[in-house]
Amino acid sequence: MSGIIADNSGRSSGVIATTVVSDPTYLQFPGTQVASADVNRLDDYEEGTFTVTITSTGGTITIATAWDTAHYIKIGRLVHIQGFFSIDSVSSPTTTAYINGLPFTVGGVSAEGSLSSSIATYVNGTLTGSPIPGGVIGYTWSGISYVKLVRGGADSSNNTASFFAAATAVGMGGAYVCSA
């Protein structure tokens, strides 16, 4: 089925083609994406959840299971994610902390754009000096499905894991481009 998209002047601005329309109230996409290489074509919409774990270069960080679910909305190749997590326990976490479990692999925008997204992250540690001085920035990389947490501000080191402790609250929100 197809229809005409019109702007508020009544002029048609494009043609929309959908595969299944059971109710004219909605724009329905197939349950399984039919990816299109056409840069002017919206080929997917999906909402869902994903389970997050947090790891560190050394030691362990364990999320409370009641607080380990995040949400995503995928529109074409753009994936918006958001979640709030609470740490249950840690065991001497060192160096870099990672948020794992992204719902889709990160897509490379270009050869230079492998470091493709920054995910706003808030870590309210229970240790002295927390929240982490300079804030936290989450980075992704082409092909992977996790977020690397680094410090912002003057200290842009990777040493974020040691700020995690039991009851630390972690907020995450942002968007990245996936592969299809």
Binding site: G31, T32, E46, E47, G48, T49, F50, T51, Y72, G101, L102, P103, F104, T105, S114, L115, Y139, W141, G143, I144, S145, K148, S179
Partner: protein
């Protein structure tokens, strides 16, 4: 009126580097008729442990995650974040 909750693998997608994108669907049925479906997703990378994965995902991983794929993935990860 009988309500039933079913969890099933809704989608398994294999990407060129061997990552497996898995969608798990939770389906609510009333008298056998689907009334709601929600999605939960995760990605199985070539270096992931698949012991707790669904049997179908395990079988796909066993076929896809060859030594060549795992080696290439290890190299990719080693070079990650080196902009």
């Amino acid at each position: 009126m009988a309500l039933e909750k079913v969890t099933e693998i809704g989608s398994i997608e294999v990407l060129p580097m061997g990552q497996i994108q898995v969608r798990t669907d939770t389906v609510i049925k009333e008298d056998g008729k689907e009334i709601n479906r929600s999605y939960h997703r995760h990605v199985v990378e070539p270096n992931h442990n698949t012991a707790k994965e669904d049997q179908r995902v395990k079988e796909v991983a066993e076929a896809v995650h060859t030594k060549k794929v795992k080696d290439a993935w290890a190299e990719h990860i080693a070079n990650a974040f080196k902009a």
